[in-house]
């Protein structure tokens, strides 16, 4: 394909695409830029370093990080089993992996809130053991594990499928244990996919709102995440403060996605 191909519709599709994106995406984002221009640096720092904001940021970043890290372990196990082993209902299990992407976050929040309550299906077993999850930061981690679960599995699965088992065989013949083979032969191949899945799950977790408000008690300074605080500020008509917090979230997820791109390019260059 080259630009010399005399296909019609370039001007029309360019015009329509750019107009649509401007109206739907760029114009609202411009409104955020416009509002943040109103914000002086001191105001920004003051808003973001307010104890309630700091606590919300800390909770958002720590729960999203922990959830994404848990998803690395869970995702690797599930991807490995789905690619390498045969078992009954495998296709159904594989299909269910995508459910967290398809299920509305409000439903996820509703169910997770109910499952871990004292009389919930899971809560009735673990609460007597002294594990209280409902309305604590642990509940936030749980729903973030749920919403981010497919990212690592779906990033790792195709890579694992393409890895030549001859490599593992050679490693085994040369005397490596299965664990050594995993760390020294498979892991370097899987790492880029794992990092991508981790970063996507993390980015998703930073912005998650729908499921979190159900399972958290949303107490300021304790169990309130940054998106919840942004909504609270909007409802108080404190738009400047909401915008300052939104900027922090926006910039962190952009930085994260930028980092994945750089990382993917770097690892592709090192493969070649």
């Amino acid at each position: 394909m080259s630009s010399r191909v005399p296909l019609p519709g370039f001007a029309l599709s360019l015009g329509y695409t750019l107009t649509f994106m401007s109206l739907i995406v760029f114009l609202p984002l411009a409104a955020i830029a416009w509002k943040s221009a109103d914000l002086s640096w001191e105001q920004f720092v003051q808003t973001v370093s307010h104890p309630r904001a700091l606590a919300a940021m800390r909770l958002t970043f720590s729960t999203a990080l922990i959830a994404a890290a848990i998803n690395i372990v869970l995702g690797l196990i599930v991807a490995w089993v789905l690619v390498r082993y045969e078992f009954p209902f495998k296709r159904w299990v594989d299909a269910l992996i995508d459910l967290p992407f398809a299920l509305p976050t409000a439903v996820a929040g509703l169910v997770y809130a109910s499952l871990y309550m004292n009389d919930g299906w899971i809560g009735r077993f673990i609460v007597p053991m002294g594990i209280e999850i409902a309305y604590t930061p642990a509940a936030i981690v749980m729903v973030l594990v749920f919403t981010g679960f497919p990212f690592v599995v779906r990033a790792v699965q195709p890579v694992l499928e393409e890895i030549d088992t001859d490599l593992e065989e050679a490693s085994a013949i040369l005397g490596a244990t299965r664990w050594q083979t995993f760390w020294m032969v498979l892991w370097p191949n899987l790492r880029p996919a794992v990092v991508t899945g981790f970063a996507l799950a993390l980015a998703r977790g930073l912005g998650e709102y729908g499921s979190v408000i159900f399972v958290s008690s949303n107490l300021p300074g304790k169990t309130e995440v940054a998106p919840t605080l942004i909504v609270a500020r909007i409802e108080e008509n404190k738009f400047a403060e909401a915008t300052a917090l939104a900027l922090v979230l926006l910039l962190s997820s952009f930085a994260l996605l930028g980092l994945i791109n750089v990382w993917e390019k770097w690892s592709r260059r090192h493969e070649a």
Binding site: T17, I32, P104, F146, G210, P227, F239, T243, S253, E264
Partner: protein
């Protein structure tokens, strides 16, 4: 679903590079436990609780309440509009990105993915800053008699923003894999641009369109954060099904919130099922990646 490359090397792998039985059993049970506790149990829970008072009161909970009926109608009016907007956009942007090379193309490809990177709550804030009373456009629009915020248009705009990438990301890799040969043939045989588009391009995209529409609809119906901010949550005006679920949860109306949630869960499951059907109809396919396609090839 997976390309079966294992059969040829199976005998050798069994000797040298296969996991011992205990490890296979252990990992498989762990994987089943993970998917069971994380995903299967919650789905089961929704339906068991929704029907806990019998099928008659299930429908009573769903449709007996006028706020529920309004929420269902609102979702039915908002989601299709967002899907249609993104459908037309998706075809246009895919045609542009897959068929032409121009400066800024890679940037545009990145911009298409932008909504995935933005918290729904921030999308809601952006719309408030734009269309609110103190917003950039709000005062001008309201003096012209147009109310966007806390009204259906804001719900449509928020939903469209959040679901924008789904259809276009399905179409770009598909269009690139098909290539422009048939379209060029049609043109050289004297078809007009629109004839080529309706008779050659669109039929070739059939499965991708269907697939994209399913993904987009599932997400559009379930969108919460962005819609939560712009709806104002005034009962009966701009309350979608997910927002109503949250309200019922706050009011401790337990079987009723699960009844409404069961509709959303049913839609999510149906979308996964339809997707599997389409995949087996179109044969094994790689997971499309719009960000790398084209540049990598």
């Amino acid at each position: 679903m997976k390309p079966d490359t294992s059969t040829a090397v199976q005998p050798r792998r069994q000797r040298a590079a296969q996991d011992p039985l205990w490890l296979r059993v252990l990992l498989t049970s762990m994987a089943l436990a993970i998917v069971g506790i994380l995903i299967f149990l919650p789905i089961l829970h929704v339906f068991v609780h929704a029907f806990s008072e019998g099928p008659f009161s299930y429908f009573e909970h769903l449709f007996g309440d006028s706020a529920n009926r309004d929420a269902i109608l609102t979702t039915l009016s908002v989601a299709p509009r967002a899907v249609i907007l993104n459908l037309v956009f998706g075809v246009s942007a895919a045609w542009l990105i897959a068929r032409f090379r121009f400066p800024g193309r890679t940037l545009l490809l990145t911009m298409v993915d932008l909504p995935f990177a933005i918290s729904p709550v921030v999308v809601g804030l952006a719309l408030v800053l734009l269309y609110g009373n103190q917003g950039l456009l709000g005062p001008r629009l309201s003096s012209a008699g147009i109310t966007v915020l806390f009204n259906t248009p804001a719900l449509v705009l928020a939903t469209t923003f959040v679901t924008l990438p789904f259809i276009v990301r399905e179409l770009i890799p598909l269009m690139e894999s098909v290539g422009p040969d048939e379209e060029l043939a049609a043109l050289s045989l004297g078809a007009s641009g629109w004839q080529m588009f309706w008779l050659v391009t669109l039929p070739g995209l059939r499965l991708g369109l269907l697939y994209g529409i399913i993904l987009c609809s599932a997400r559009a119906v379930g969108e919460f954060g962005a819609v939560y901010v712009v709806s104002g949550r005034i009962a009966g005006r701009g309350q979608t099904i997910p927002l109503r679920v949250e309200q019922l949860f706050q009011q401790y109306q337990s079987p009723a919130d699960f009844a409404l949630a069961s509709i959303l869960t049913g839609i999510a499951l149906a979308s996964l099922f339809a997707r599997r059907l389409l995949e087996s109809a179109s044969g094994p396919r790689k997971i499309p990646s719009a960000t790398t396609s084209g540049d990598a090839a």
